[in-house]
Symmetry: C2
């Protein structure tokens, strides 16, 4: 193990074990350098990594201190549906239920903070995992941001994956809610009206322009989000 990793895990262990409590002062860099018989820069690298993880806070003049734990910070990785299904060894397919080009309209324009006359591609798509409906995907693609969507049928590639290839990088906002299935949703998902459903809304931007807005509605009895947060992991 490298020296800076050694220093990193040593301090991490002291914090996790409770040996060093929140607010406790960590030896200054030159002391740690002497202790581990290495240069100050190597110590600095280890402490910077700990600071980036939020385990310590560093202040000029006063030194570095053990941070207050924040176990309530949840980090979740949500893959796109097809990837997630494949990873879990499930069979995934999808159907395009609707595909039309239109204008955004007032209500949605306000919701997306985009002009109401913006041209969009509206998609509705059903995802089927192991033969059972797993999600309705209702998606808006901004055609001025992604003009090539106009010619794409999405017959062979899910819209989410296609956009990943098309748009190089982006910022996304997520909202997770619980909603009751309305009649149409229940019929498509082959469940009961009023059934609790998990809704994931994602709006994606590139360079400040909305690229796409999508809502996935999952039947509550067949879907959940799970994630693990390791403040200790590497």
């Amino acid at each position: 193990m490298s020296i800076y990793q050694h220093i990193f895990t040593d301090i991490e262990t002291k914090i996790i074990s409770g040996d060093w409590r929140p607010g406790d002062r960590i030896p200054v860099e030159h002391e740690l350098a002497a202790e581990y018989r290495c240069s100050r820069m190597t110590v600095s690298k280890a402490l910077s990594a700990l600071a980036e993880r939020g385990m310590i806070v560093r202040r000029r003049k006063t030194g570095s201190f053990v941070a207050s734990p924040q176990i309530d910070r949840t980090v979740m990785d949500i893959q796109d549906i097809s990837t997630e299904a494949e990873l879990a060894g499930h069979e995934h397919r999808f159907e395009i239920l609707a595909r039309k080009i239109e204008r955004l309209g007032e209500a949605e324009a306000q919701q997306l903070s985009e002009p109401a006359d913006a041209e969009i591609l509206r998609l509705q798509c059903l995802h089927i995992v192991d033969g059972r409906p797993n999600a309705i995907e209702r998606r808006i693609i901004m055609l001025d941001a992604v003009p090539r969507a106009r010619e794409e049928s999405f017959a062979s590639i899910p819209p989410g994956k296609w956009l990943l290839d098309e748009v190089p990088w982006s910022k996304a906002k997520h909202v997770i809610r619980a909603v009751s299935a309305d009649t149409t949703t229940a019929r498509i998902l082959q469940t009961e009206r009023g059934e609790a459903c998990l809704s994931l809304i994602r709006q994606t931007w590139q360079n400040g322009r909305t690229v796409t807005y999508v809502e996935f509605t999952h039947p509550g009895d067949r879907f959940q989000f799970a994630g693990t947060f390791h403040p200790t992991a590497n």
Copy 2:
């Protein structure tokens, strides 16, 4: 702006703009060092930061390359209820509905991967935000891991916050589901039976031992999780 930050944002911009596409090769370190008239180590620091963000992949001998984007990775920060309410400017209070010391039992023992005869403190707690029920908290605290919970009444501090002070650091697993309110839940939350509710389950460990297991049940019409993922942010 420091030199390595300059290099970082330059490359980040090229990737976000699509100027450099996934799979493209990034100049080797000594080329970038010459271009920015700095040492190779400074370049290395910038590239390492980009690699840690998942924007590039680095391979010995072959060089560094633009990574494939993963915008479907969702990072969410979920604060604990009282903190979140305070941050949003809402009034928060809570009531202890039940508090008893007992043994874990078979079914839950299996679920938590803990022995069935383990002594636990079982808590049920109602969180009220701006005068309306916002969550039922059903919690199990392992008394062998947190013996001091035996004497704590939780009259003045919510169990979640108390545990944050008591347990220095930990690993946590989260599950988010949509469930229908049963009769009891609906009564406590002052909503209808069958109402869609958002359920957050969190199991917390320290040094491999379960510390606590908690389920928060939120009425779907009064609660959602929201988060933003910035692959570009600092």
